[in-house]
Amino acid sequence: EPEVTQTPSHQVTQMGQEVILRCVPISNHLYFYWYRQILGQKVEFLVSFYNNEISEKSEIFDDQFSVERPDGSNFTLKIRSTKLEDSAMYFCASRQGGYGYTFGSGTRLTVV
C-alpha cells in the first residue's frame, strides 16, 4: 500500500537553529499538507500546498515557517529559527482528491 514517508523520525535541535523536515508524499497525490501535534494536544493544521503554491495556512504558520516542493517527489517544511514551543510531532499528509488524507508517521522535533 502506498505510504507517505517522513524523515528523520526524530530530530533534536538547539533553539535558534534552522531545521528542515522532509516528506515524500504518495506519487500521484496532488495536495500536500503539514500538521503538527504538540504532546497531549490535538492535531493542528499548518499549511496546505497545491499546484506548487501554498493554498491555505494557519496562524501558526508564521514567517519562521516555509514549505517547498523542490522536485517531483519531496515536500519540505523549514523552520528558520526554532523556538522551544516548536517541539512537537510534525505530520506530512497528502491526498489525491476526495476527503481522506494519508498521513506519514511523523517527525518528532525536540528543541532544546
Partner: protein, 109 residues
C-alpha cells in the same frame, strides 16, 4: 468556539464490548466527517468518512452523523485489544481539516 469538540477520555473497556466515541462540531456548513485512528507515535490513519447525515458501516465500525444536533459518533462492535488507540474525529471546509483532540481507548483482554 472550537470547530470540533471531543471528550479526550481515557476510555477503558473489556474485550468484546461495544464502544461509542462521540464528537460535536460548531459549523452547520460542515458536510464531510471523518474518523481517524492513531497508534502511539504514528500518524493518524483514516478509518471512515461520511457525508451529511446518516450511518455508514464498515465491518465492526459504524459512523453516524446527526446534522440536526451537530453530533458525530463512531461505534465499534466486538472491540479487540488491537483497537486500543486514540480515535480522532475530523471535518473540513475548503482545504483545511479540523481535528478533535482525540479519545484514548484501551480494550482490555
Amino acid at each position: 468556539q472550537k470547530e470540533v469538540e471531543q471528550d479526550p477520555g481515557p476510555l477503558s473497556v473489556p474485550e468484546g464490548a461495544i464502544v461509542s466515541l462521540n464528537c460535536t462540531y460548531s459549523n452547520s456548513a460542515f458536510q464531510y466527517f471523518m474518523w481517524y485512528r492513531q497508534y502511539s507515535r504514528k500518524g493518524p490513519e483514516l478509518l471512515m468518512y461520511t457525508y451529511s447525515s446518516g450511518n455508514k458501516e464498515d465491518g465492526r465500525f459504524t459512523a453516524q452523523v446527526d446534522k440536526s444536533s451537530k453530533y458525530i459518533s463512531l461505534f465499534i462492535r466486538d472491540s479487540q485489544p488491537s483497537d486500543s488507540a486514540t480515535y480522532l474525529c475530523a471535518t473540513h471546509t475548503g482545504n483545511q481539516f479540523y481535528f478533535g483532540t482525540g479519545t484514548s481507548l484501551t480494550v482490555i483482554p
